[in-house]
Point group: C2
Chain length 191, copies 2
């Protein structure tokens, strides 16, 4: 195993544990056990628990941005892209990915994490804003401030996530779908 491989191996182990037990119950000894790497080994690659948390957040946010990028790169109408993003989000939620909720909560207190999170939201917002602009240009959406509308769209998706992650036995897919419908109904130009 190369250095980078081991590093990622440790991060994946940590992510798995985070998904299973939440941050409050995430401790180094468990990460050591789960990863199969010794304590010394883990601390060779990461100088602190905080650094692991940081790496986990980076990984998740990068994944998220990639999902959005892929959805945006498809040659589709703006609303179709929007639906695609929502569906990706849904698919990912169904996997055993750890909820970013713990990490968001942490970021509220940690300037470093907060920095990454802000950068992420900036990127996210910028990309969605481009999409909104596309929709407006193509006459699909009613004109408005793309940046602000983008933030509202993100709010809706994140909120749906929050609810979906919290409430079990909820038809998450249907909810996201209808949320987007509601949103589009508001965005679509009235013909």
């Amino acid at each position: 195993m190369t250095e980078a491989e081991t590093r990622q191996h440790i991060i994946f182990a940590a992510l798995k544990l985070l998904a299973e037990k939440g941050f409050t119950n995430l401790n180094m000894n468990d990460i050591v056990r789960e990863s199969g790497v010794s304590k010394g080994g883990v601390y060779w690659h990461f100088k602190s628990k905080d650094e692991i948390v940081q790496a986990m957040l980076d990984f998740i946010l990068t994944e998220q941005i990639n999902i959005v990028n892929v959805a945006l790169s498809e040659p589709d109408s703006a609303s179709a892209k929007l639906r695609r993003i929502a569906r990706f989000a849904e698919a990912e939620a169904l996997e055993q990915m750890p909820s970013p909720l713990d990490l968001y909560a942490l970021a509220t207190r940690d300037p470093v994490l907060m920095g990454r999170l802000i950068a992420y939201f900036d990127q996210y917002q910028a990309r969605i804003a481009v999409l909104v602009q596309q929709g407006i240009d193509e006459g699909e959406f009613t004109p408005g401030d793309p940046s602000l509308i983008a933030l509202n769209i993100i709010s809706l998706i994140e909120g749906a996530f929050l609810i979906g992650l919290t409430i079990p036995n909820l038809d998450f897919a249907a909810q996201v779908e209808s949320a987007i419908d509601l949103l589009l109904q508001g965005l679509n130009r009235r013909t």
Copy 2:
């Protein structure tokens, strides 16, 4: 001080600390110090830390429901009520209330907390659904499943909160306002 007063005093102290330092750094010794009640005293009123966390969540959720109830009791149009709720939410966010984010994250792993949270969302959803129904009946909103629409509205508000709590220097009020506008544009019957 009566028993109930001391109890609430301790909870307030815990809430203040939660707001300041987040759940990860919330410990009993600090609660003891902040409340001014001794450890024995605190453990006289609460048999465990979990019980305090539970009480905190209960308090926050009850507050939230009350806000909604007050907003709903005003004799207003459906959309006006909706704006009122958003504005209340915003006002509360500006105070130093602790973000429920930590508690939401916790609830994901704790069945008891989850139970309270689900009950809360159920109530919340039911109330908003009534409001949506009112809007539909009065011809203000386009017809649709009030329950599902209610969930979407909640998603939007919670999402706006999430973003607002996370990103600093964001014009939170403006964002919520525009989010509701966007929503209403979708909800309003096209004349």
